[in-house]
Amino acid sequence: MATLQEFRTSEKSWWCPGCGDFGVLAAMQKALVAVGASPDTTAIVAGIGCSGKIGNYINSYNIHVTHGRALPAALGLKLANRDLMVLVAGGDGDAYAIGMGHFMHALRRNYNVTYIVMDNHVYGLTKGQTSPTSEEGFKTKTTPHGSIERPIHPLMLAVSAGATFVAQGFSSWQPQLAALIQKGIEHPGFSLINVISPCVTYNKVNTYDWYKKTLQNLDEDSAYQANDRSAALAKLHQTEELVTGLIYQEPSTPYEDLIPGFRQTPLVKQDPHVDPDTWDKILQTLE
């Protein structure tokens, strides 16, 4: 069993002191230990932005790709070696702006990876511009008079798009967040964990204190059942997505189990040569 220490690297963090992403990193490492993961069989895919640096701080196989494209990279990685535990990290810009197309299709494809979105409602690494999840009226360098666009509601989108696992955590609430990531990893399909991860530098509205006052914790709501898609939508609508906990989960068969002829043995462990009999059969289709 790997320890927390084994999932750490010697790299010093580039995040601002107090950044919510520290909490996300810690919870990911705790969840990896809790599920019994090993650094050599764990792969982390990240996009661009403050969130994209998370792979630098976790000892595992890391790939840091182009802006918005973490999900397709994770798909290729998982299909190449389905024995790997694949975690994907992105921010609200990476996931819901430049990467929105991939997000929707990852949900409907339902391949077995865990997507952790570090959502702070603002662009941090480019020094403070509006984001798809910024609230209306939110003032930034690109919206000096306040955002005039409506925010995206990623959780409702995910539930509507056919997601099989949707949860939201808060970087300050470590035990719940680590447990949600663990559940997501254990879910046999695509799991989305949107994490409220406050930006202490560029978002002076949606602060730790603000979230602590407004967030509703589903763990304290014994009546809520996370297996009903319309109840999930109702809850998200009613709370304006200011809610943490497991929002929706259904039994799922991952994409890689549904591909015709696709084997349980990972591609990377198969002989790349084609055998003569199979080759003859393939050529016969051209006769």
Binding site: Y61, V65, L79, A80
Partner: protein
């Protein structure tokens, strides 16, 4: 050698009619080459399919048509000029008219009516097949055997009706026009050949080369590669994913390459443009990836169903930053197979993206190919420099340097799943361990390391081929589908004319090009784009001089061998004509 053509509206089964003729002639031991004229629509609009049937290898179309089968008047109006005294078989149903001055013998048969009487107008194409067999003077029984097999699964009634359709078409021609049948194809050369396209050959090469994941987005003229792999991959445990776009396609391929699988994507110009950023990622993070560009008319949507070779500069230089890509350019269907296999070898050996550039004509037009040239189980697979689990365990924890400097620029890689091999692969500049680095010295060394890797490709691959005399008066230089056309032009011209073609555009085989072209009095670079892109590359490498001339075409229509001959003779005439 004979050229047969059928024309009608799109969606009327023109393709399947041509396919029957090509397949049967190929089985008899003839060499075939099929050329289709089509547009970006599904139903309606003129389409035609020309099949050349020959007793020797053929890899180009031609100006002349010997037999034209017309299912509507538009086919006659658009194509009759190619006949030069040949036969025109037209369906009586549209009351065909031979345009004034046309040099053709008009033959009519009630193709539609015969089919209707046999039960369905759908069988009109089979009547046309039978009639064509008679016109070309091929034996009826081989066509009947084909039809029997083709419709076997649909039951005896369907088989019999189609056999009847073929027989009736055949017999009516013999009975009514027997006196006009003077074509003699010559004796076929028996052999074991398949009628396949460049796209088929690339899909086959991918399987032979160990590719087991294809992520793509449909686009003309690349889609066949994806569809072929959908058909064949289940037998080898591979997967095709139809992605949401080309950004996703290439990035999924990179994810798989990082994991250690052989993966590919295929597209055409518009999709390749979208992939450029990610190709840069694969270059800088040193991740193998194979990308096929089946070029078509550009820019933007351009001419999706028309031939062009205008992506070449973009394939080399389309991304931002300083990168070198490996760009392979097969010049025949057989070379498509070879290069597809080799692309995966080079991608892993040099840990870099490899692009295979074909073009619409090479990608789509089917021709006879020896089965022996498609020997999948026998290809060599080179995985490049990797560290085994034992190597990594011997190394110890936190020691492995994924991007360590080396004389040839290649650093052994670990694969996810291996202990002690963890590292960060990133598009950000990094040091030998993979960790992000902005150190100026490291930056220069890393850039040089990546750029120097391609010298290794030049060392192991003949990037410029030549066939012809030792002291040529003229060398024709081509790429992609143009190579087959030039080969036929050389044959027609005879004399001291040679043919050279690029197998690798990047790294540019500058020494080979200089040596091959050194003794030529004239060099004509024949390429299908407006800017003379290959000639520009040659000039940039200092191998273009006053002996060089360009022959460019960018109207969407492939070069004809006859056009090349005319141009070449005009070039030579001041020197050679007595």
């Amino acid at each position: 050698m004979l050229a047969w053509k059928i024309g009608g509206d799109q969606g009327e089964g023109i393709d399947s009619t041509g396919d029957v003729l090509a397949t049967v002639a190929n089985r008899m031991g003839y060499y075939v080459y099929g050329y289709k004229h089509f547009s970006s629509r599904i139903k309606g609009g003129h389409t035609n399919y020309k099949v050349r049937i020959a007793t020797t290898h053929v890899e180009a179309t031609t100006r002349r048509t010997d037999i034209l089968v017309a299912l509507n008047q538009e086919t006659i109006d658009r194509n009759v000029h190619e006949l030069e005294g040949g036969l025109l078989l037209a369906d009586q149903s549209f009351s065909p008219v031979l345009p004034e001055g046309a040099q053709a013998h008009l033959l009519t048969l009630p193709l539609t009516e015969i089919a209707r009487n046999l039960g369905s107008v759908m069988m009109r194409n089979m009547v046309a097949v039978g009639a064509s067999a008679a016109l070309i003077q091929l034996p009826l029984d081989v066509f009947l055997d084909y039809v029997t097999k083709k419709f076997e699964k649909k039951g005896a009634d369907v088989v019999n009706a189609n056999r009847e359709a073929v027989t009736t078409g055949y017999q009516r021609i013999i009975d009514e026009y027997g006196a006009l049948l003077t074509f003699k194809l010559g004796t076929p050369t028996p052999g074991d050949r398949l009628v396949i396209s460049g796209n088929d050959a690339i899909a086959l090469g991918a399987i032979a080369g160990g590719c087991r994941l294809m992520c793509g987005y449909p686009i003309t003229p690349a889609t066949d590669i994806m569809e072929a792999l959908v058909r064949w991959f289940p037998a080898v445990g591979g997967a095709v994913v139809q992605m949401e776009d080309e950004l996703g396609s290439i990035t999924a391929v990179i994810g798989a390459g990082f994991a250690g699988a052989r993966a590919m994507t295929s597209s055409s110009g518009p999709g390749i443009s979208l992939m450029q950023e990610a190709i840069g990622l694969a270059s800088v993070a040193e991740i193998p990836a194979v990308i096929v560009d089946t070029q078509r008319g550009g820019p933007s949507t351009g001419m999706p169903t028309k031939q062009e070779q205008s992506d070449l500069l973009a394939l080399l230089h389309g991304g931002h930053g300083d990168t070198l890509r490996v760009v392979l350019t097969p010049g025949s269907v057989e070379e498509c197979f070879e290069d597809a296999v080799e692309a995966f070898n080079l991608a892993e050996q040099f840990q870099t993206p490899v692009i295979i550039a074909t073009d619409l004509s090479l990608a789509l037009w089917q021709q006879s190919v020896e089965r022996s040239s498609l020997n999948g189980p026998n290809v060599s697979i080179r995985r490049g420099s990797t560290l085994s689990q034992e190597d990594l365990l011997a190394l110890g924890e936190n020691v492995f340097q994924r991007y360590q400097f080396s004389p040839d620029g290649i650093s052994p890689r670990s694969l996810p799943g291996e202990k002690n091999g963890q590292y960060l692969a990133t598009g950000v500049e990094h040091g030998p361990s993979g960790k992000v680095s902005e150190d100026p010295t490291n930056r220069e060394r890393m850039m040089n390391k990546r750029l120097s890797k391609l010298d290794g490709v030049t060392a192991i691959r003949d990037g410029f081929r030549y066939e012809g005399p030792e002291r040529p008066t003229l060398i024709l230089v081509g790429i992609g589908s143009t190579v087959g056309i030039l080969r036929e032009a050389v044959k027609q011209m005879g004399g001291q004319v040679g043919l050279a073609w690029f197998r690798t555009l990047s790294p540019f085989p500058v020494e080979r090009v200089r040596n091959v072209l050194a003794t030529a009095q004239h060099v004509m670079v024949v390429e299908q784009n407006a800017l003379g892109q290959i000639r520009q590359m040659m000039a940039a490498h200092g191998v273009s001089d006053e002996r060089f001339t360009s022959f460019l075409k960018y109207d969407g229509v492939p070069f004809l061998p006859e056009e090349v001959v005319t141009r070449a003779l005009a070039l030579l005439s001041p020197v050679e004509v007595q």
